[in-house]
């Protein structure tokens, strides 16, 4: 599956016609959507918590350099190393370098969207190192050769039958006559297969939900425990993270840990919250001997000081995705990018360029549900609109629409002309109507591809008002 954000319209069409996708998308609404609503109600004053989260992240984003330097010092003090990657290629090289120095052949991976973003896995494979995804959803799609379709539930689009089919095809050492009817059987099989991989791994790579500057710690929020086995068993642990994940200290992390699971799945807390601060302690038998953090910029710093800066507050909870009606109609693969839904629409035009990701910013009704559920109050539709303005100003917007809009705007600034034009249009549309509606204009696309247009009365309000007064 190739990822191309420019192919969004075709990919969306395909997704709309995919019968397997609809029930999966329905489940997101009933599970994650309802879950969040319940958690918000139970918490009480959730608004104050959102305000607190926004303030913590705003402070971090506007003090990013200071906090990253503090973080680096704290990591160094605990015997770890911080690496700085300007872009995806540099990040890949740095990570490869660390793994080669460690003589690593197999690497287990906790879930990390940043490693998707920088396309790490194929690069490692091309260099003779085997990455093994251990988050169940990531493992399943790794076996299938698919990209994730959601930022926290990467395989949500699959049915259990599809997962069973994949396990039968890829776990060839196991008895082909075994039963994989039950979800539980699938989970137990993955548990057994991956336990061997955990034990044998030379290195472990995780992401970070948060970086705590003062203590030099990376924090992961999970339910499975795979991130922990990834960190604790091998001798090298690498944290790969965006630069914007840092906050001032662990008390700030404690506040965000109240916000993230509730916003994501509706849980008051995820099963495991793990604070990873460097190498194994003196005399400890678990934990890495080498601790590395790779800080990835890849277009993030470019957003500072722009109208899109607020997007850097994101804590990657997926609430916006779960509540978006457009994502809810087409799913994640249609976006053709690592980040999808509203957060993708706000981030991608900035990080990939407007020409590449224009559809993401345009395929929105600005219904505002995303901004309403965002735990850190990112004004997502406002940022999407900003990208549309950039697109318009660069002359990149599709000509048909911009010309039509320009014509209409020309008239809208000239009341007499507008009145005249509106009267003609009203009369024309009325004439074209049959049985109360206009069914098509010469080209049956746009509005008329899927709808009729209710016939106007024939005389505009302003004309009638003028006549009456």
């Amino acid at each position: 599956m190739t990822l191309d954000p420019k192919a969004f319209p075709q990919a969306a069409r395909s997704a709309l016609n995919d019968p397997l996708l609809r029930p999966a998308l329905g489940r997101l609404k009933t599970h994650f959507g309802a879950g969040r609503a319940m958690a918000v109600q139970r918490y009480g004053d959730f608004e104050s918590l959102r305000d607190a989260g926004k303030a913590i992240r705003d402070y971090a984003v506007t003090h990013l350099d200071e906090l990253l330097v503090t973080f680096e010092q704290a990591v160094n003090a605990r015997g770890g190393t911080v690496h700085w990657a300007r872009d995806a290629a540099e990040a890949r090289r740095l990570i490869l370098g660390i793994l080669q120095d460690a003589g690593a052949k197999t690497v287990t991976k906790g879930k990390s969207m940043v490693t998707e973003e920088i396309a790490l896995n194929p690069f490692l494979e091309a260099n003779g190192i085997e990455p093994v995804e251990t988050d169940l959803g990531e493992y399943i799609i790794q076996l299938r050769g698919e990209p994730p379709s959601h930022i926290i539930a990467p395989a949500f689009h699959l049915s259990k039958e599809q997962v069973a089919e994949t396990f039968f095809a890829r776990h060839t050492a196991l008895d082909p006559k075994r039963s994989l009817e039950e979800r539980n059987a699938l989970v137990q099989e993955a548990r057994a297969v991956l336990r061997q991989r955990f034990e044998a791994a030379d290195a472990g790579i995780t992401g970070a939900n948060f970086l705590s500057a003062k203590e030099g710690a990376a924090v992961i929020v999970t339910n499975e425990g795979n991130g922990d086995l990834t960190r604790l068993l091998p001798k090298t642990h690498i944290v790969v993270t965006g630069i914007e994940k840092v906050v001032a200290d662990m008390n700030d992390v404690a506040v965000l840990v109240r916000l993230l699971p509730r916003s994501a799945t509706g849980q008051p807390i995820s099963t495991y919250v793990s604070v990873m601060a460097g190498r194994r302690g003196e005399g400890e038998s678990d934990g890495p001997r080498d601790f590395h953090v790779v800080l990835v910029d890849n277009g993030r710093s470019k957003l500072i000081g722009t109208e899109a800066q607020d997007v850097l507050r994101c804590i990657r909870c997926s609430a916006c995705i779960n509540h978006c009606p457009v994502y809810g109609a087409v799913g994640g693969h249609a976006y053709g990018a690592t980040y999808m839904g509203p957060i993708g629409a706000a981030l991608n035009p900035g990080m990939m360029g407007v020409a590449e990701a224009a559809h993401h910013a345009n395929a929105s009704t600005f219904c505002g549900r995303c901004a309403e559920v965002c735990p850190v109050k990112i004004p997502l539709p406002k940022i999407m609109r900003h990208w549309r303005a950039v697109e318009h100003a660069s002359g990149l917007a599709p000509k048909a629409i911009t010309r039509g809009l320009a014509l209409w705007a020309f008239a809208a600034k000239r009341p007499a002309l507008y009145r005249f034009g509106a009267s003609i249009a009203a009369r024309l549309l009325r004439m074209m109507g049959r049985g109360g509606a206009v069914r098509a204009v010469p080209v049956k696309n746009g509005w008329f591809a899927v709808r009729d247009f209710p016939v106007p009365e024939g005389k505009t309000f302003m004309a009638q008002w003028k006549a009456r007064r």
């Binding site: 457009v326 345009n362 600005f366 219904c367 809009l405 009341p415 507008y418 709808r451 309000f461 009638q464």
Partner: protein, 252 residues
Amino acid sequence: MSERPRVGLFVTCLVDLVRPQIGFAAVKLLEQAGCEVAVPATQTCCGQPAWNAGADSDAKDIARAAIAAFEGFDYVVAPSGSCAGMIKRHYPEVFETDAEWLPRARALAQKTHELMSFLVKVRGVTGVPAGFAHKVCYHDSCSSLREMGVKAEPRALLGTVEGLSIEEIKDPQGCCGFGGLFSVKYPEISERMADDKIADACGTGADTLIGGDLGCLLHLAGRMKRQGKTMAVRHAAEVLADMGGEKALGEP
């Protein structure tokens, strides 16, 4: 509450072009509520289509004209959460860096209202002398809900219409898929969203769908007509102004 406040009616371009009776219904309701209603002759549009498309310079020109046309009134009222929302929530954004127009935009935003919430919250209207003996379901537009905070007021007023009963749809927060130019740029996605909303509406057993934003209603009525569905679609203002006997949207 002031005696006979002067209200500038922001009729909206869709109402003007497609369904003027909504404008007349709004005038009737406002006059019934003791307002002196004027309709500035120079109004054309709030500029939202240009603003949402990122055509900022056009949006600014259109918005300046709207501000100039309406800033002299005590209140500006629109039979639309979307247009009222553009003025109230977004005009200050449009003129964020404009020292001359920002205060004027803010002043106008302050006194701009969606019709039904204006009647209930500002004029204290508690009921309307109208009849509409139908089981209806109500569509909250996203802008009414999330930009203007309008949810209880339409229901409060419709509840006093003789013979009318409201059956709530299952997912009132969900977008209908209109979204202005979205409906023509991504018609198949817009279609799916409409179909989900229509299925929800039909599931209530109501014979009429009522809403406060004509854009949503044209999109839903147009889709239902294409599907051959018979549910009638009307704007809330028409029903509240006792004009429920006229033809519904798209009715032959």
